[in-house]
């Protein structure tokens, strides 16, 4: 740490101390207000969903939750069937994603050379930023026909297993939705699991190796068991994200509100039903019933996220922490702290090795089984990344012929008029996202300062609710913005869309900012205080300055996450031409090849923007960590 630099800054602190004290009076009220705003947002989301759904629950009672009647005209949306659909779809997605994600994480953390692992991990974390609408577009136009023609007929023809895949092969199905969800959640799952695995102390691995374990045995007997809570958290948080995904699922699940009898049958989930039904529900009971679907989804996802966050906290402990920020969509900048190993635990790991060692036979045999396991993990790594590379390739290939400078700077025109572009949508996205940033950034920073300055239960509760809020499905935040802005103001607006995005950004900003602030060494702050600087002055000149790259990185990650959002804008913006994501959603579903090509080109621009934002965010974070070393 360059002492001279901070010394000179401290001298300035001393000289300006008194002035700072006067100005600093606003500091405490400011962060209190920030925290109050954040608390109010959390409460407002819950209250708006509760009041919005009150009429439905009053009318149908609690039996609404397990009802099997689908009759939108009377406000009955077969909640029970949708819950089953949601559970089956996300369950299948996790069955697919968990082994692949875990294998990939093991490969990244334990098997491939460190330099390759670092590059691949950064890549995986970038993939986590791919907007769900782009995955949805690819699934609809590429995967769906492929499933109808090849995948589903093949699965149906399998002996024994085929029973789970009976019936006509339509393409859109529970299976396709599950595959899409698995692809979408894999980057998050891999990144979080890898962080958990990396947290297992080197000493434990060395101890096991010293006892004669092979590399694979170290993985199986030491690393995986020790990292279990962190892995559990990763799977649970990915599950929460899958449950809440609405748009991509609505595009590929076939929208049949019936109990699934086969995995290749069309189905419906709570999220897909909300996408399809919210706007057209009959005012009054109908709308209230759709919001009640949202309430059920909210309860489910919050429950899953609470479990996930508790597992995450169980995985962390008082020991040496290695916080690694991960930009997880559907989650905040999550940090899995390394579980500290007590000596006793390490010893027990050793015993766990020692016993099977003799039981598992000769070294060659152990080496062979190890090689099989290791190859499987590397295959899993490829399987986790390959679909998203294919997606990128398709997007570029299909977008290329439509991309031109004119496409970027000309406004959206109707089908059949030539010379159109997407400038209206680019400007709309920039406007909405920019306004959301302006709304969320101050509250996010001030809340983070509150969490940093205040010990006790209230900040802990706020921190926890930020983590949980970051897992709330974006479609529910869209309903929230509709209820509090569009309905009272009587028209959709950029402001309504921006509010929804701001609420989505807020928890990410809060947690990322707090993380960045905490990374500033305490002794620097003490030095400032010792020179007589007021707390506010220390915060401004030492804490905020020191954490600036981290703060910017966190805000950019939040920005990247919401730039690709579709669901919250669906009910809040006046026209699909006003956001790139909405334009992809409407154009991608048009049957006209030229319009589909425009959707691909829009997807390319959106993807480039989101990946650029994430890359810049990571660059900022990188300079921070490098400086700290």
């Amino acid at each position: 740490m360059p002492a001279v630099h901070w010394g000179s800054s401290s001298t300035r602190l001393l000289l300006q101390g008194r002035q700072g004290q006067r100005r600093g009076r606003a500091y405490r009220p400011a962060y209190l207000v920030g925290a109050a705003v954040f608390g109010a947002v959390v409460i407002a989301v819950v209250v708006s969903i509760a009041t919005g759904s009150a009429q439905a629950f009053a009318h149908y009672g609690l039996s609404f939750v397990w009802s099997g009647t689908w009759s939108p005209t009377t406000g009955q949306y077969a909640t029970g069937i949708l819950v089953v659909g949601t559970v089956v779809t996300t369950g299948a997605a996790m069955l697919l994603a968990t082994p692949i994600g875990l294998g990939a994480a093991v490969a990244l953390s334990e098997l491939v050379p460190r330099k390759v692992a670092a590059a691949a991990s950064t890549f995986v974390e970038l993939l986590a930023a791919v907007p769900s609408i782009v995955v949805g577009l690819w699934a609809l136009l590429v995967l769906s026909p492929m499933f109808a023609r090849h995948v589903e007929p093949f699965l149906r023809s399998l002996p024994v297993l085929g029973g789970a895949f009976s019936g006509p092969a339509y393409g859109p199905s529970i299976l396709l939705a599950a595959v899409v969800l698995a692809i979408m959640t894999l980057p998050t799952l891999v990144a979080l699991s890898r962080t958990a695995l990396r947290g297992v102390p080197v000493e434990d691995r060395e101890a096991a190796l010293a006892l004669g374990a092979t590399r694979w045995q170290v993985v199986r007997k030491v690393v995986l068991p020790t990292a279990r809570p962190g892995i559990g958290a990763a799977v649970t948080l990915a599950l929460g994200r899958a449950m809440g995904e609405a748009i991509a699922v609505a595009l590929v699940i076939g929208n049949r509100p019936a109990l699934p009898h086969s995995l290749i049958a069309p189905g419906a989930t709570l999220g897909s039903a909300i996408v399809n039904q919210f706007a057209e529900a009959q005012p009054g009971l109908g709308t209230s019933s759709v919001i009640a679907l949202g309430a059920v989804l909210l309860v489910l996802t919050v429950a899953v996220n609470i479990v996930g966050q508790m597992l995450r906290r169980a995985g962390a402990s008082a020991g040496p922490m290695a916080p690694l920020p991960v930009g997880a969509p559907g989650g905040a900048v999550l940090t899995i702290e390394a579980p500290a190993q007590s000596v006793g635990k390490a010893a027990s790991s050793g015993r766990a090795i020692a016993a099977p060692h003799s039981a598992e036979g000769s070294l060659p045999r152990r080496l062979v089984s190890g090689a099989v396991g290791e190859v499987a993990c590397v295959v899993a790594l490829v399987a986790a990344i390959a679909p998203l590379i294919a997606l990128g390739w398709y997007t570029v290939a299909r977008a290329w012929p439509a991309l031109s400078f004119g496409f970027l700077v000309h406004p959206v025109v109707p089908f059949g008029v030539s010379g159109g572009g997407i400038s209206t949508a680019i400007a709309g996205t920039a406007r909405t996202v920019g306004l959301a940033l302006v709304m969320a950034a101050p509250a996010g920073l001030l809340t983070a300062l509150f969490l940093y300055e205040r010990p006790g239960r209230l900040p802990a509760a706020l921190r926890f609710s930020a983590d949980v809020l970051s897992g709330v499905p974006s479609i529910i935040i869209g309903i929230f913005a509709f209820e509090v802005v569009v309905r009272p103001m009587h028209h959709p607006s950029t402001f309504a869309g921006a509010l929804a995005l701001a609420v989505l950004m807020l928890p990410i900003m809060v947690r990322a900012s707090e993380e960045a602030i905490r990374s500033v060494p305490v002794d620097l702050q003490e030095a400032g205080a010792a020179l007589g600087a007021a707390r506010s002055r220390v915060v401004r000149s030492v804490v905020l300055r020191g954490s600036l790259p981290g703060l910017i990185s966190g805000n950019l990650l939040a920005l990247a996450r919401v730039t690709g959002e579709t669901a919250p804008l669906l009910f809040t913006l006046a026209s699909p031409a006003l956001a790139m994501s909405l334009l992809i959603y409407t154009n991608g579903t048009e049957p006209f090849p030229s319009v589909q090509q425009e959707a691909w080109a829009t997807a390319f621009v959106l993807l480039a923007a989101v990946l650029a934002l994430s890359a810049i965010a990571r660059g900022a974070a990188w300079t921070l960590t490098r400086r700290a070393r």
Binding site: A148, A279, P414, P549, S553
Partner: protein, 367 residues
């Protein structure tokens, strides 16, 4: 320190600069011609998906002529148009099926319902090797949507269509997952023409939500149905004729009231509209299976919905001018987009209804 500041500055400036340059690059018409009000105004509308190709073409031309008027239309479906107007969250709604008395009762005032276009619903299929204009009647269509006829080479289908060499391919019937005008139209046609359909669905009351969702695939909006048909050999579904025309689909010829098998076209849809001309109203809107040779049986008017009392007189005037343009000049674009121009008597009805728009004090707005 400097490096850090530079990174920070870059990180902040790049996205902002991108956003600004893009916002500035937006098309600004060089010469601004105002409509009579002269003020910048934005009209937000939502509703029928079927009218979207027509609306977007007409609105685009209107905006070119009067750049001070910006129209946003969200083609989320007829029910969205009704629901949004009831909740008063849009300046205008649009529905393929006009609002019934019970819908109107939920609105926040008197709603004017104005016929603005005349369209048809095509039964489109993706069957390699099958001829155009496959002949289908009500009971055959019902059997397909009931899941009774399941293969294109089934004898029942060969007998009904008179085409015996259809391929051995599974029929995938596609219906709308959202509630929509085309669903209502086909349901009404099947109710009128198939007793088995009535007994299967258990009602003679046509529904905007597809009544038999257990058979086939549900897709969102015309676009979703059309995309599925385009992607899936064996698929058959109902879409607004405008979509089918643009997508180059093969459409079935549907048996009409007098026993003619008629394919959708601007002319045959026009014939259905003419049957209704003179007696049309928001409560007497049903033009499914009208008589007459050459009349296409699946046709309907699309209805724009707006409040009679406009709290903002400027908005009221702008709406009045816009829809006067839609029902007159705008109709010139109907035929090439797969719609039929409104019959003159219907234009007169629309004009008379539009003239009823009032300001908040209840005075008529001058057109």
């Amino acid at each position: 320190m400097k490096r850090r500041a530079a990174v920070a500055a870059l990180a902040l400036v790049v996205p902002l600069a991108l956003g600004t340059s893009i916002a500035v690059g937006q098309d600004r018409p060089a010469a601004r011609v105002a409509d009579a009000s002269g003020k910048d105004i934005t009209l937000d509308g939502a509703g029928a998906n079927s009218i979207e190709p027509f609306f977007s073409a007409v609105f685009y031309n209107y905006h070119k002529q009067y750049p001070n008027v910006t129209i946003n239309y969200s083609p989320a479906g007829s029910s969205v148009g009704v629901s949004d107007i009831q909740q008063d969250t849009v300046a205008f709604g649009d529905s393929e099926i006009p609002m019934a008395a019970k819908d109107l009762a939920k609105a926040k005032g008197t709603v004017l319902q104005i016929p603005v276009d005349l369209g048809g619903v095509a039964i489109s299929y993706n069957v390699p090797g099958a001829p155009k204009g496959l002949r289908l009647d009500g009971s055959t269509l019902a059997a397909i949507y009931e899941g009774v006829i399941t293969n294109w080479d089934s004898p029942a289908l060969a007998q009904a269509t008179g085409v015996s060499n259809l391929p051995n391919l599974r029929i995938v019937p596609v219906h709308r997952a959202d509630s929509s005008g085309p669903s209502w139209d086909l349901d009404e046609y099947l109710i009128q023409n198939s007793s088995s359909w009535v007994s299967k669905t258990g009602t003679t009351d046509p529904s905007k939500t597809w009544p038999l969702t257990s058979v086939g695939v549900g897709e969102q909006l015309n676009s979703g149905v059309a995309t599925y048909i385009a992607q899936t050999p064996g698929a058959v579904g109902y879409v607004e004729y405008g979509y089918s025309l643009e997508a180059g689909f093969t459409d079935a010829s549907i048996r009409n009231k007098v026993g003619d098998y008629v394919a959708p076209s601007s002319t045959s849809i026009d014939a259905a509209g003419l049957q209704a001309a003179g007696k049309l109203s928001a409560s007497n809107f049903n033009i499914i299976d009208e008589p007459g040779a050459g009349t296409y049986p699946l046709a309907n008017f699309s209805w724009t919905l707006l409040y009679q009392k406009q709290s903002n007189a400027n908005t009221g005037l702008a709406l009045q001018r816009l829809f006067t343009y839609v029902i007159t000049t705008g109709q010139l674009q109907a035929a090439k987009l797969g719609y039929a121009p409104l019959p003159l008597s219907v234009v007169a009805l629309s004009k008379a209804t539009l003239a009823k728009v009032e300001n908040s004090a209840g005075q008529l707005l001058a057109t």
